[in-house]
Every structure is written in structure tokens, then in C-alpha cells.
């Protein structure tokens, strides 16, 4: 059995592991990014690479040391660097002596043949396409539950009666999802997990602040890379609404309902009429939608030197002014510390709380 691994993005590895196992591969689970991961990443990546690239380099080095032979990842042809991560990682890993191969899945729509060929390569137990499809469907179902659970924690955390209880229960119920295998089991475990999570004692009437989170996909989805900003905010009594989940924005229409039919793209149109790659335009669009929905503030998370987010940030200055919503930007790199971030978050939360209570135009944008 070939030993495969893949990038880690939050809890999604639980679903991918199942899928890869089903296809007959041994899975080396990518470890949660930690100090060591970052050290490896910094040592072997170009100095000005964006944080996601560095973290992934580190993760791959760690998994290669545990014997991974094949890395599976996705490509994309955005004007952004992520589309070339695979090629660069392969060169880097090979040059430091790991003979791994990397399979980069490109969008099936534009490269159908290539896609099928690659599917065949990871299909070690020679399943039929139909069987593969079944596996993918189960994986997707799991992903959806994982996303739903995470979303629920965002609403619960600021309202919980005992600090830390949400996170504790969340950790526990995740394991249930992990144990489920057949479609029926997944549904059962998922529902059970959601219900249990909602039982965490909380105060539904507590007035909380609402903050939208926008930015680059990797740092949004991997809590270890954003220093658990969502947890920190939750503990400060803020309900966060993240603009991106792996299973997609479309499933989540809480914002859409209230803002009519304005899509993210349309919202961003007056400011940035063109897709600039990465998620720059989405960051602008989501910020506008959040403002229209009466959110109290927006936080932009971006890797240091992230090209599209820098463009977005320049434009957000004006969006913040014209839509009267405070925006705080974090440019993350390997030196960003949790303590510094918490201080700035506290100041920001103070600011939006004051603004909410006395709605004068005390509206600033803060960068870092």
C-alpha cells in the first residue's frame, strides 16, 4: 500500500483520511502545524514565500519523515501562487533528499483526462468509478458535518456559561464523526454530534458582537495558522462569521437572505471589477455584505506578502469608510505571536463595542 498524505486544513483531514483509506492507501496523517512544522517550513521555503506555503513545506517534511511517498494536493490556475505550490514543493522536497512524488489535482472541468489519470493513480485498490464516487460522496457528507459543527461553535462560544466548555465538547464530538463509516452512520453521528454540541449550557439572550472574517483561504481554514483567532474572539464575547468553508459559501445563506440577491461578486464590483486571483475580490465583497447585514466589524486575515489580499487591503480602506464598518487586518507570518494578536483583538473589540453603544462615526482601519 502506498503511503499518501495531503495538506492539512482544520479538521478536514478526517474526511480525506477516510477517502484515501477507502481507495486502498495507507494514510500518513498530516500533524497539526506546530512550532516544529514552522521551523522546517521556514528553513526550506523561500524567505518571502507566503505563510501557507511555508506551513505546507513544514508539514510535508514532517510527513515525509514518517515515510510518506505520495502527496496529494490541488492546483488551480488562479493568478496566485497556490497554483504552483505543488511544483515548487516537489522541487524543494526532492532537493533535500525526499524522493516523494506530488499529485496535483487540477479542476476536472478544464483538464478532464488528466483528472481521471490522476484518480487512477491514487486508486490503489482498483475500485470502479462508481465505487469511487460512493466514497467521495461519503467523504463530502463528513466534510459537511465537520463544517456545520465548526460553525455551531462560532455561535455558541460567545454565549457559553462556562468558559471553554464549547471547545471541550467540540473536541469530543469530532471523534464520533471520525468513527462513523457507512453513510447512515455518518448521518447519525453527525446529527448526534450537532445536538450534543448545542446542549452546551449557554445564554441565548446574551447580547454579543458580530464580526465577519474574510481573507485568504488557508489561513482562514487552518486554526493553527491563524493562532485560533476564532476561539480568541469567541472568548471575548464575539460571534464570528467566517466567509469561507471548505464545503462552500453557497450552502450558507444566512447573509444572502438578508441582503437580498446581491452576490459577493456584485458587491465587490464597484471597487474591484476583476478577479485578481486568490480571494482578494471575495474579501472586498464579503466585507460589503457584512456591513449591509449590520455586522459590527470585519477582520481580514492575510499571509504576509499575500498578493491579492494586499490589493484588497488597499481597497478596504475606502470600503470601511464608505460602508461605515471597522476593519482590522492581520498580516500573518511566522513571527506573529498570539499575545500580540490578542492585545490587538481586545483593542478592536473595545472599539466596536464603543461604536455600537454610541454610534458616532468613530471608524478606523487598523493594519498590522
Amino acid at each position: 500500500m502506498p503511503k499518501v498524505t495531503f495538506p492539512r486544513m482544520g479538521e478536514s483531514y478526517r474526511a480525506f483520511r477516510m477517502l484515501m483509506n477507502d481507495l486502498g492507501n495507507e494514510v500518513i496523517i498530516p500533524p497539526r502545524p506546530n512550532k516544529k512544522t514552522l521551523d522546517f517550513g521556514v528553513r526550506y521555503s523561500p524567505e518571502f514565500a507566503c505563510l501557507p506555503l511555508k506551513i505546507l513545506t513544514g508539514t510535508y517534511v514532517e510527513t515525509c519523515m514518517s515515510g510518506a511517498e505520495l502527496i496529494i494536493t490541488s492546483g488551480g490556475s488562479g493568478p496566485c501562487r497556490a497554483g504552483l505550490y505543488g511544483q515548487l514543493h516537489k522541487k524543494i522536497l526532492n532537493s533535500i533528499g525526499f524522493p516523494v512524488d506530488i499529485i496535483v489535482f487540477e479542476a476536472p472541468k478544464s483538464h478532464p483526462i488528466d483528472f481521471l489519470r490522476k484518480v487512477k493513480r491514487v486508486n490503489s485498490s482498483r475500485l470502479s468509478y462508481l465505487a469511487i464516487w460512493e466514497c467521495v460522496k461519503r467523504g463530502w457528507e463528513k466534510l459537511k458535518y465537520l463544517d456545520d459543527l465548526e460553525k455551531t461553535t462560532h455561535a455558541l462560544r460567545p454565549r457559553e456559561l462556562k468558559k471553554g466548555s464549547t471547545t471541550k465538547v467540540y473536541r469530543e464530538v469530532l471523534e464520533w464523526i471520525d468513527g462513523a463509516y457507512a453513510m447512515k452512520e455518518i448521518h447519525e453521528a453527525g446529527k448526534e454530534a450537532l445536538n450534543t454540541l448545542k446542549l452546551v449550557p449557554h445564554d441565548t439572550r446574551r447580547a454579543v458582537l458580530r464580526v465577519g472574517i474574510v481573507g485568504e483561504i488557508y489561513v482562514l481554514l487552518e486554526p493553527a495558522s491563524n493562532l485560533e483567532i476564532e476561539e480568541t474572539l469567541g472568548n471575548l464575547g464575539v460571534e464570528v462569521h467566517r466567509s469561507m468553508f471548505l464545503t462552500g459559501w453557497t450552502r450558507d445563506n444566512t447573509v444572502k437572505e438578508t441582503s437580498g440577491i446581491l452576490s459577493v461578486k456584485e458587491a465587490a464590483m464597484p471597487y474591484i471589477p476583476l478577479c485578481i486571483g486568490g480571494h482578494g475580490r471575495e474579501s472586498v465583497g464579503h466585507t460589503i455584505l457584512y456591513a449591509r447585514d449590520g455586522f459590527d466589524g470585519v477582520i481580514q486575515m492575510a499571509p504576509f506578502t499575500c498578493i491579492p489580499e494586499i490589493v484588497a487591503r488597499t481597497i478596504l480602506t475606502r470600503v470601511s469608510r464608505e460602508h461605515n464598518i471597522p476593519v482590522l487586518t492581520f498580516f500573518l507570518d511566522e513571527q506573529t505571536g498570539k499575545a500580540g494578536m490578542s492585545t490587538r483583538l481586545e483593542a478592536f473589540v473595545d472599539l466596536i463595542r464603543r461604536k455600537k453603544n454610541a454610534p458616532v462615526s468613530d471608524n478606523r482601519i487598523i493594519v498590522g
Binding site: F48, A49, C50, T305, I307, I310, T314, I315, R318, V367
Partner: protein, 332 residues
């Protein structure tokens, strides 16, 4: 009074200025530029632009600001794609937006989109739109476009014959007949790879090219190579998405493979996103070609003259010594 269009002397300036200048003057529109980069321009840009932006973008802000009072329009087209294949760095794609929303009190921006992937004659249509802004007829605009196109061709061929963009521009405007006053006594040839707005900006590159020439070294840049040939040298299974990066990387692959140069210098800007990858790819590849020394030089807003000179001299010395050793050990 004729309308005045301001063209910042940065970024696309080194690639398209001759064409744009011709186009506008044929339309009877006056062109003003921000001139050579100075410390003042850079400082201004650094103050106004986002701290996390790359140096060239900060510098561009500076150039734009200096045109504030001397131009009625700013010409900052949104150039997406010109070769039907690769696009430009996201910061180029968002350039007009960054200027419009990041600076206040600027003249109106002409931000016509140029994207050759949008089908036949899409570039002409973009220029038509520009001409319409000045209320001119289609015929007149077409003549101007044609003339501009011819100038662009001439500019290209001058550069392919070995001139660097500033020299070629000088020739085009009839200022200087022999663009190359330096006498190459040595027999060294270096390639300086990097983006045109870094390599050919005297100030931001700390005069790197000039310094090399002073040492009697022949310098070739990407503009001197045939784009078709270098694009064939690509060894990745995917193109770089960004035109300038794609050119730089493939030029390195091409030169490593074909030889013909004694050293390769990669000039990169602090805070440049694409370059972090380009440089790593080059570095990894250079290990397979030990006979061609490779060095990368990073420039930022504080780069000092002295630091660069020392590194350059050391590099040149090393290359010279290697060459002598090689020549001595294999007698002709």
C-alpha cells in the same frame, strides 16, 4: 489647450511607453511623465502606499502622486493579458483600483482593460475606447493605433539587437545615435534577470546594470532574448501564470541550458510575491549548472549603494577567477 495625459514612469513604462506616447501624440493629446525615479518620489510612495506592498508598487504610488497636478488624466490601463497565455501579477490587475481607492484627489484614471484573450482585435478595441474618451473619430484613432503599433515593433527589434529599454527609447526619440558608449574590454557576459521596472530603473536597482558595464562586462537582459525561444525552455509541467515571472524564470532555464553567459544575476524586489517562487526555482536549477555562477540580489527601499557594489565586485571577481582557471587548465 490639449488634454494632458500622465503616464507614470514605472511598471509598464519600460515595456509600453514608446507605443503609448506615439498613440497619444498622434491623437493630439499631450503626454506628461513622472520622469526618472528619485529619492523623493520613492519616499512619497512609501508614505502613501500600504506598508506591506512590494517596493515597485510603492514606487508606482510615488510616481502617480507626482503627476497629480500636471495631468488631466492618469493613464493606468488594466492590463490583464497580452499574449493570450499568461496574465500579470494580481497587483497589476488591481492597479487602477488601488490607486483610485487608496489615494485621494487624483485626476480621473483611464483604466481601459486590455485582455488579448477576449478574442480577435481586442487590443484595438481597448485603444479605440481610449481614443473615444477624447471625443475622436474611429479613423483617426485607428491611424494612431497603427502608428503606435509600428513604433512598438521597432522598439522590440531595437531591444532584440541588444539595446536595453532606456537606450532603445533614446534611439527612438532620436536623442542618441550610438546607445552604447561603453567599450567592452573584458570578455565577460552577464545576464541580469528580473522585472523590467526593477532592472531598468536606475534608482531602484542602484544602477546595477550600469555598474556591471563600468566593469567592462556585457549585460544582457530578458528584452534581448527571443520570447519564443525562452518559452520553449520551460521545464516545469505548468507555466508561471504571470507574464514577467514566466519570462524571467524561463530565461534562466534557457541560459542555464544554452550557456553563452558567464554569470546570472537575479534581481528581485523585497516583498514581491511571485519572486519568492521564481527565485527558489532558479536557485534549485542553478545547482545543476555549477559552471554558470548564480546570484540573487534583493532590493528594497533602503538598499544602499555600497552594499550592492561590494557584493557585485566579489561576484565578478569570482567569475573572473573561475574563467581564468578554466582557460589555463584546458590549453587550446
Amino acid at each position: 489647450m490639449a488634454a494632458r495625459v500622465g503616464i507614470p514612469s514605472s511598471l509598464f513604462y519600460y515595456v509600453h511607453f514608446p507605443m503609448w506616447q506615439t498613440f497619444f501624440s498622434e491623437l493630439g493629446v499631450e503626454v506628461v511623465t513622472s520622469g526618472q525615479t528619485t529619492k523623493g518620489l520613492l519616499d512619497q510612495g512609501v508614505r502613501e502606499a500600504l506598508a506591506d506592498a512590494c517596493v515597485p508598487i510603492k514606487l508606482f504610488f510615488g510616481h502617480v502622486i507626482s503627476l497629480k497636478d500636471s495631468a488631466d488624466y492618469l493613464f493606468i490601463p488594466r492590463i490583464v493579458c497580452l499574449n493570450r497565455k499568461t496574465i500579470y501579477c494580481p497587483k497589476f490587475l488591481g492597479l487602477p483600483d488601488m490607486i483610485r481607492h487608496g489615494l485621494t484627489g487624483m485626476p480621473p484614471i483611464i483604466d481601459v482593460q486590455m485582455d488579448s484573450r477576449q478574442g480577435f482585435a481586442s487590443l484595438w478595441k481597448s485603444y479605440l475606447k481610449i481614443g473615444r474618451i477624447f471625443g475622436l473619430g474611429k479613423g483617426r484613432i485607428f491611424m494612431a493605433y497603427l502608428k503606435a503599433y509600428m513604433v512598438a515593433r521597432r522598439f522590440q527589434s531595437l531591444m532584440r539587437s541588444g539595446l536595453h529599454p532606456p537606450e532603445a527609447m533614446a534611439v527612438l526619440s532620436g536623442k542618441e545615435n550610438i546607445a552604447d558608449p561603453v567599450d567592452y574590454n573584458g570578455d565577460l557576459t552577464f545576464a541580469v534577470l528580473g522585472y523590467p521596472y526593477e532592472v531598468h530603473d536606475q534608482f531602484i536597482s542602484v544602477g546595477l546594470v550600469k555598474k556591471l558595464k563600468k566593469m567592462g562586462i556585457r549585460v544582457i537582459t530578458i528584452e534581448n532574448l527571443s520570447p519564443r525561444k525562452i518559452s520553449r525552455a520551460n521545464i516545469l509541467d505548468k507555466n508561471m501564470f504571470w507574464t514577467f515571472s514566466d519570462l524571467a524564470l524561463n530565461a534562466a532555464y534557457y541560459l542555464f541550458k544554452e550557456g553563452g553567459v558567464d554569470g546570472i544575476i537575479h534581481l528581485t524586489a523585497f516583498g514581491c510575491g511571485p519572486d519568492s517562487m521564481v527565485d527558489k526555482f532558479m536557485e534549485i536549477s542553478s545547482r545543476d549548472y555549477p559552471e554558470i555562477p548564480f546570484m540573487s540580489v534583493t532590493i528594497d527601499e533602503h538598499t544602499g549603494d555600497a552594499g550592492i557594489s561590494t557584493r557585485l565586485e566579489a561576484f565578478v571577481d569570482m567569475v573572473k577567477r573561475r574563467k581564468e582557471v578554466k582557460n589555463n587548465s584546458c590549453p587550446r
